[in-house]
Amino acid sequence: MSILVNKDTRLLVQGITGREGLFHTEQMVAYGTNVVGGVTPGKGGQWAAGVPVFDTVVKAVSATEANTSIIYVPARFAPDAILEAVDAGIKLIICITEGLPTLDMITVRAYIDGRDVRLIGPNCPGVITPNEAKVGIMPGHIHIPGNVGIVSRSGTLTYEVVAALTERGIGQSTAVGIGGDPIIGSTFIDVLKLFEKDNDTEQVVMIGEIGGTDEEKAAEYIRDHMTKPVTGFIAGKTAPPGKRMGHAGAIISGGTGTAAEKMAALEAAGVRVANQPAEIAEIVAALAGE
């Protein structure tokens, strides 16, 4: 097992003919992901990266039985692309696009809540289950299959941690990038729940950063409901208050969202918190009994 994506994933790429969309579709296909089609309005009937292109998600789903979609369309069209996928019956939507207006995301999230659909992102690197499916923009070759689940608000920092684990021969069940925006489809808790239930996941690495209170809430969940060990890391100890650190959601405002608060909350919940990224792999290795 694993979570979210695997060999049964039938992937649709929204925005497949764009520069980013096409490049990453080729990469995903090369990795072995089962990409069944793409969507670009006005380009239905064409082919891209070896798969058929459709005008709408509905048409693509009826022709390909896609169950998952990944979104690369530009920010101003991305909220619409998510809603279109929801209405077409896609069960897992992964939005890579960065820069969606926050008010649009409030509406999108409210529309999704209560429906049988899961959104990952936006502004995220995607999800990978090593050797089964890469649904995102992460470098596939740094991952190997194994029993460590990873959930993170960051992209490259996650690659850094994954590479360190792989170097030690420690594989990953699934790595999930939940995204750096203030309003996202799935939070730490949503993904932790999946890892807790997953038979292939023996322990979890959680990589957070400044801004918001999602890590604090996750800490409460871990304390009350997680049986599997969790190793944590928080980026942004040196970030000044009131400044957005790259990610739209990475901002300390009104005195909340500091790294110190998040680290304290996680430690209080029994999470081993690494002081620097390299320590994460060390802690995980020790927990794995190596």
């Binding site: 101003r76 926050t102 993170s152 960051s154 309003i183 809430k217 980026a235």
Partner: protein
């Protein structure tokens, strides 16, 4: 993007929120003219994008046009928390009976726009939130039905607004919500909303923050962006699509990815150094973006060493290396640099930089330790 007080209040006024009569002045003489037209006592207020203007002496009452000129002369050019005052707002002074706080924010945990009110107006609302959270009333707004009159009434009752002002309060709260939504704001606040001596409501001070992700559909607001108040290098970085935040330290950093950038700054600190900036060159960084980023980092005269930390995924290390070389060619006084390139095309990238006399590192920890060491040497060299 932050709007000035006068800009925020003008937006509010367009949506039916009553604001004091007044106008902006950039010279003392202009301030005098505005005061003369308004008649009676006025308030001269520094227009800078920072809190605590009053405590810093940036807000003063003047009884006559002569006095307004005098106060404006004192305030214009004043340095408030590092920002030089270039404009003052001259407003008719309000007769204040009571002060209320009314604001709209995005509540990340609730994933809703939330109306916040407090009868403790006029003061720093964050202080009220920290010391007496029970004095802040919050009403979450459903995005599908929007803000409703019953919610305004609920807020009015909680804030003990006099019955005869309920209708006016409802109009103001609804207007503030309409202004917030139409402007793609992430914050819109009236602080204080004043009950005047003759029983009227008046938005005496206002603040708005616009969501940077929505600026593309807010052309009128993006034109208001005040370049004078913005760090020129942060503005330059934005033109290149780079995310840059200037800090106080000596070690410049160029990293791909926001999380890794923050982690890199933290590592520099952990090893006893001090980061000069946050800079995310982004995914798929091209040579000219890297060159622009390096120029921006080195334009900070505090920088005495630079650390490059690139984890190649979409970003290709050879492309980054070419950008570094291109930038080095046009720079006159390069500082010592430490480079860590790993991931896609790392061999090619290292080969390109082989002749550039830069220190290299294999891990983030090694890179941080080396850059802190060269920065210390550089500092000692400049002291001697």
């Amino acid at each position: 993007m932050n709007l000035h007080e006068y800009q925020s209040k003008r937006v509010f006024a367009r949506y039916g929120v009553p604001i004091p009569n007044g106008d902006v002045a950039t010279t003392p003489v202009e301030a005098r003219e505005v005061a003369k037209v308004l008649g009676g006592p006025v308030v001269v207020k520094a227009q800078v994008l920072v809190g605590g203007r009053g405590k810093a002496g940036g807000i003063k009452v003047a009884q006559t046009p002569d006095e307004a000129e005098e106060k404006a002369d004192a305030i214009l050019g004043m340095d408030i928390k590092g920002l030089v005052v270039g404009k003052v707002l001259v407003d008719q002074a309000a007769d204040i009976r009571d002060e209320i706080y009314l604001g709209l924010v995005i509540d990340r945990a609730k994933r809703r726009v939330v109306l916040m009110g407090s009868s403790e107006g006029g003061v720093d609302i964050e202080e009220v939130a920290a010391s007496t959270p029970e004095k802040i009333i919050k009403i979450a707004i459903d995005p599908f039905i929007g803000f409703r009159p019953y919610q305004a009434l609920e807020m009015a009752l909680e804030l003990c607004i006099p019955a005869e002002l309920t209708r006016s309060f409802t109009k103001i709260a609804s207007g503030l919500y309409d202004a917030f939504m139409a402007s793609d704001a992430s914050l819109a606040e009236i602080n204080p909303l004043v009950v005047t001596g003759n029983g009227k409501l008046l938005a005496v001070d206002g603040k708005m923050v616009i969501d940077d992700n929505a600026i593309f559909r807010q052309p009128a607001l993006s034109d208001l962006r005040d370049l004078v108040d913005e760090d020129p290098y942060e503005a330059e970085a934005r033109r290149y699509g780079l995310s840059y935040v200037k800090l106080d330290g000596q070690i410049g950093c160029m990293v791909n990815g926001a999380g890794l950038s923050m982690a890199t700054m933290d590592m520099i600190k952990l090893f006893g150094g001090s980061p000069a900036n946050f800079l995310d060159v982004g995914g798929g960084a091209t040579a000219d973006r890297v060159a622009a980023a390096l120029r921006i980092i080195l334009s900070d005269s505090n920088v005495n060493a630079v650390l490059f930390n690139i984890f190649g995924g979409i970003t290709r290390c050879d492309e980054v290396a070419r950008g570094i070389l291109a930038a080095l060619e046009e720079l006159e006084t390069p500082v010592p640099m430490v480079v860590r390139l790993v991931g896609t095309n790392e061999e090619e990238g290292r080969a390109i930089l082989a002749d550039a006399q830069m220190e290299t590192a294999a891990t983030l920890a090694e890179a941080a330790r080396k850059v802190v060491a060269v920065a210390k040497t550089a500092q000692e060299g400049s002291v001697q």
